[in-house]
């Protein structure tokens, strides 16, 4: 299977941190953006860690990912769709699909035997594209080392 990232939420870690601060602050969004930019990536990483620890996965949903999947069987897609209602596929030609999902679905997929290969392939292509490295290290770090 070949996976290529076509688009993803810009600055996904900052976006997730923004969504998280939105819940707990009275500040306007532009004030929150200034706050997050002045505190920097370590703070975003800290907030993502809290979200994962508390299972506040709603904030993770704002990290959206669009991928091109090549050499993927219809049978595999069927089993992925059955377990993951929020991933969207568009058929392009035999064995080639567009798929969009958010990072919450990606987290859920990595814990499903039928979907783990695709999830790992998406994570690898995000890493190769330099997207969401901080997020990946916080959320999937240990899991990727385990193999």
């Amino acid at each position: 299977m070949k996976t290529s990232v076509l688009w993803a939420t810009p600055d996904p870690e900052k976006t997730i941190a923004l969504a998280m601060r939105r819940c707990y602050s009275t500040k306007t969004l532009s004030e929150l953006v200034s706050e997050l930019e002045s505190k920097g990536p370590d703070y975003w990483k800290h907030l993502i860690g809290l979200a994962i620890r508390d299972k506040s996965f709603d904030v993770i949903e704002h990290f959206c990912i669009l991928v091109l999947l090549e050499d993927l069987d219809e049978k595999e897609i069927f089993s992925i769709i059955l377990k993951n209602p929020f991933i969207r596929f568009t058929y392009l030609k035999p064995k080639v699909y567009l798929a969009s999902l958010n990072a919450r679905t990606l987290i859920e997929m990595i814990h499903q035997d039928e979907c783990k290969e695709l999830a790992l392939s998406i994570i690898k292509s995000l890493k190769d594209a330099g997207i969401g490295n901080l997020f990946i290290s916080v959320v999937f770090g240990g899991m990727l080392i385990e193999g």
């Binding site: 076509l6 688009w7 923004l18 819940c23 009275t26 949903e61 959206c64 669009l66 969207r88």
Partner: protein, 174 residues
Amino acid sequence: MKVNLVWHTNVSAVKDYLNKKGLKVDYSELEDHTFYMFEIEDVSRVTTHQLIRHRMASYDQESQRFSAASRESFIIPSSILSKEEAHKVYNDALRFCVDTFEKLISLGVPKEDARYIMPHAIKTKLVMTVNAKNLKHIADLRTAPQAQWEIRELISTMRDLAIRATPEIWPSTK
């Protein structure tokens, strides 16, 4: 009411990439794959209760467990604002609710419980991420003449921002 488009999918770049790979795709097929993130401020909880009924989207909203209520933070519908006596009744009720909220806090009641007294008119802030297909569905329902005025104004603004950002996805409204 303040509505901004924070980011959106660069849908023309996606289509160009696919075309270069010899994969023909119509913009209508990219509706599922085109995302928008909006910031929404100064709308009432009346409106956000309606908004989050549209479940195929992601929302994060200012929590009343943690944020203090302000005496200035209420939406006043024009049907009330335009009638002097109705406006007075409305303001008196809001003032009573805020006074009670503050009194409960001063009595040691936690905000998460004191907030039960706060009215739906209170202004709120949230972020929302939604794809084009679902935004179109929401717009069909909520910009109709029979929709309630505040959510109609909100969704009309969101739809206009989405059209400006990604006109290819909204061909009938270009």
